[in-house]
Symmetry: C2
Subunit: 360 residues, 2 copies
């Protein structure tokens, strides 16, 4: 049996239950801005070797919790574990981002993809189990995966891109083969997240990092619908006792808030272009909201960070019986940030958020 959670603020906020203050975690909180991370990374060699070593993945997952009063741990891993396990030949060229040796360019390549890759991802589930054990119930553990569309962008383009020309050409000229890929990915990703939950993940986040590059119509048909399928498959596969809250995060997805809120998730992650108060009104507090500080603010002074935390808490506003807010950045923290400024952010949330939860 796992120990009861000492700090369950994140789970309560995601379920929109009352909390005394706003919980906070930070996307990519275990990462290169921490010197202790860079030390482990140097020992591990390349990035994927670090992901594939459960002991080291556990170590770096716990590092930010030792420094900051964060309300969640998030599995140290990468969204590209699935395409890697599918055999596309993942590598990370230093300073250039991911590359696939065998990008998907035609129907034959897509149809040849394996539909079950969990055996090759045992290292992820081992890491989840180990982290959960080592947390000793201090805070909940978040598992994650990329959205089907976001995974497909890397698998079809073969690398990071700003224009997404290859996959968009496929989308507009051969939509049926792209749908086959996305359906396969939503199924494999659901299995992957089910297994993360059974290994110990207590909440999940789906990163739709590149949904925002699509037209409104294409977003709905090629990203949103496959996140809905992923959620439906996940919820159907888990017993009632196993269900966990799921956060959906589409970067640049502010225009689709209402649709994301109706997708079957518990919370929607917002980037900084969204006003959280307006977002609440648009979705009638039907799900919790996560976010949404611009990561660039962490380059400013502690005083500026505190002011921006106050502004964001005020934009969400007073909590009610059905509200829920998880403080976070609107995208991942960057490597150049001074950890002292992360402390300033966390402390400001602790200091200023209780006023918004006070019952009058």
């Amino acid at each position: 049996m796992s120990p009861a959670l000492e700090n369950d603020l994140l789970l309560r906020a995601l379920r929109r239950e009352p909390v005394p203050r706003t919980p906070v975690w930070i996307m990519r909180q275990a990462g290169r801005y921490l010197p202790e991370y860079r030390a482990v990374r140097e020992q591990a060699g390349d990035f994927m070797s670090l992901c594939q070593n459960p002991e080291r993945a556990c170590e770096v997952t716990l590092q930010p919790l030792a420094r900051f009063s964060l309300d969640a741990a998030i599995l140290f891993s990468d969204i590209l574990t699935i395409p890697d396990a599918m055999g596309l030949g993942l590598s990370f060229a230093e300073g250039e981002g991911p590359r696939f040796a065998r990008p998907l360019r035609d129907a034959a390549a897509i149809d040849a993809l394996p539909t079950s890759v969990l055996d090759d991802l045992a290292y992820v589930f081992d890491a989840v189990s180990l982290i959960r054990r080592e947390l000793h119930g201090r805070v909940p553990l978040i598992g994650f995966a990329g959205s089907p569309w976001t995974l497909a962008t890397y698998m079809v383009e073969g690398r990071s891109t700003r224009d997404f020309f290859v996959i968009k050409k496929m989308l507009y000229t051969q939509p049926e083969i792209l749908h086959r890929l996305l359906d396969k990915l939503s199924s494999v990703t659901a299995d992957y997240l089910v297994q993360q939950v059974r290994s110990g993940a207590q909440a999940l986040q789906v990163f739709d990092t590149w949904g925002g590059v699509l037209s409104d119509a294409a977003y709905q048909s090629f990203s949103l619908v496959y996140m809905q399928k992923l959620l439906a498959r996940l919820h159907a596969a888990l017993d009632e006792q196993e269900q966990v809250p799921v956060i959906l995060f589409t970067k640049g997805g502010g225009g689709w808030l209402e649709k994301l809120a109706e997708s079957g998730c518990s919370a929607v992650g917002c980037d900084w272009s969204v006003d959280l108060g307006s977002a609440r009104q648009r979705i009638f507090d039907s799900v919790a909201l996560q976010g949404n500080m611009d990561p660039a603010v962490l380059r400013a002074s502690p005083a500026s960070i505190e002011a921006e935390v106050q502004r964001i808490l005020a934009s969400y506003g007073k909590h009610t019986a059905r509200s829920g807010h998880v403080f976070n950045l609107g995208h991942g923290i960057t490597p150049d940030i001074d950890p002292e400024n992360v402390s300033a952010l966390v402390e400001a949330v602790h200091k200023h958020s209780p006023a918004y939860h006070a019952t009058t």
Copy 2:
């Protein structure tokens, strides 16, 4: 006296007057995807030399009109003419985008900027006059400028960036000096656009290419408000007979449509993440809308392009007594596009749009 316009569809659509079909032009329609442009550019040498030569700028402005049945010409120039005239030392490194030798990093540099640069921009006004004359009234001529915020990003960062860390640090730690810069730019840019109108521009577009990288609060305070000031100064400086419609385009600005529509502009440019029908409803047809095909669609087949044009026309929907739509891309055309595919776009707008303007 200028000849009367043969084709005034653009101006009528921007004024939300009835038109028999939807007018169409394409952002960056005079550009590298055209072999005849590349030929002139080779003769001219570097990009700014081409902008600074009114005869050559006129020639490339007219090139797309010889190929395609477009409903507007747009001045061939660059938004960085103003910072260049302010003495920041602009250069274009091949394949790398613009660089400034003397980026603005402190209050002294901002306070030292000239407040009147029109004399140094005579080449722009000469080009506008010449193009207007050479058009012989075939279609209207659009002038343009960058938004104060967008110009400031280049002037402070000194180059293209994805993260905007330098200017965002200034925004969060020294907002008062950034406000001084933006106020100066809105004044200089208003003067610049007034002079474009007096030289012959019949409509204007303000390109807020980088407004979408800001938080909701920062967008309103650092981009939107200075576009409002720019518009107010422009409208105040022009006689009643001189007034021209102004299109505001914030890339990634779908969340601020209502605010843009109330800024004093005639039309809002939309990128492809927006559904035009929903956008119309949000602003109660109070201004015209421009857009919004994903430029990536032009890499697909002519049949796919036609289908996407049909979808976008249908998303705007039937026209009424107060509606107005200008077909365009949601961002500039890219150099790799086959001009035949631009023909497919223009022809599809001509073929399919009349049905939406028919009175029943």
